[in-house]
Amino acid sequence: MTTISERFMGAAAGFSQGDLGPLMSMFADDAVWHAPTSIGRFGGTYEGHDAIEGWFRSMVELGFEVELLDMLEDDSHFVFLLEVRNGDFEQVHANAWRLDGDRFVEGWFLPDDVDAWNAFVDR
């Protein structure tokens, strides 16, 4: 049986090149995505495929190099941590997702340092 981690790794392979289709296919149509309201234009609650895909696309445009640090899962929750880098900016991002069946229905984006994030995107 394929684990969530294995499905995610397959779906996210083209993410940094902007190929979001496979990853978005893992989301329920009415999925909800939360990002801290304190991170400006990247913050807030995003509802549905179009909104969430738009958020992911904005992240791709930041041009991060990404290193996968860790993944955790059970049957209905999935967490992955990334180290992202762009020039001298370096940060850890946690993504925590809930599943209903085999679809992500709710997710949280958690940068480890909101102030550093804001300084980076406002540069």
């Binding site: 939360h34 955790l72 967490v79 925590a96 809930r98 958690l110």
Partner: protein, 135 residues
């Protein structure tokens, strides 16, 4: 990966932390925290900010308890852990100054080599409700 993250020893320890928090046992809560822990509280309310070191974090948690009359409850939906990180999906409920809070929250913890918590950060599913509750 191949690990059972829900039954990892660090997941069991995290549940012990939740029990200690629920009982208001400050000494036990403090034992989970690294000396140099960095604890980030998001949002835009009086308790938001970064707390540095065990003493500051214990002080923050004490203030949370005092402000809510001990009513703030963390109800785990899931606790996942590996060797380096743990994740808690929680329901959060509490009372403060006539206001009631009910929200979902995801919390992430980075673990040191001795299993103590070195970094903490969290996000609610309804940050506006959290901000209003604490304001």
């Amino acid at each position: 990966m191949g690990q059972d993250h829900a039954n990892h020893p660090n997941a069991a320890r995290a549940r012990e932390y939740l029990d200690a928090f629920a009982s208001g046992d400050e000494e036990s809560v403090a034992s989970f925290l690294d000396d140099g822990i960095v604890w980030r509280v998001g949002g835009q309310h009086p308790l938001s900010g970064t707390y540095n070191g065990r003493e500051e974090v214990v002080g923050y948690l004490r203030r949370v308890r005092e402000e809510t009359g001990g009513t703030l409850a963390l109800e785990p939906e899931a606790v996942l852990a590996g060797d380096q990180h743990l994740a808690l999906f929680l329901g959060v409920r509490g009372q403060r100054q006539g206001r009631s809070l009910e929200a979902s929250m995801a919390q992430i913890v980075k673990l040191g080599p001795d299993g103590r918590w070195t970094e903490f950060w969290a996000l609610s599913g309804d940050q506006d409700a959290i901000d209003e509750f604490w304001s």
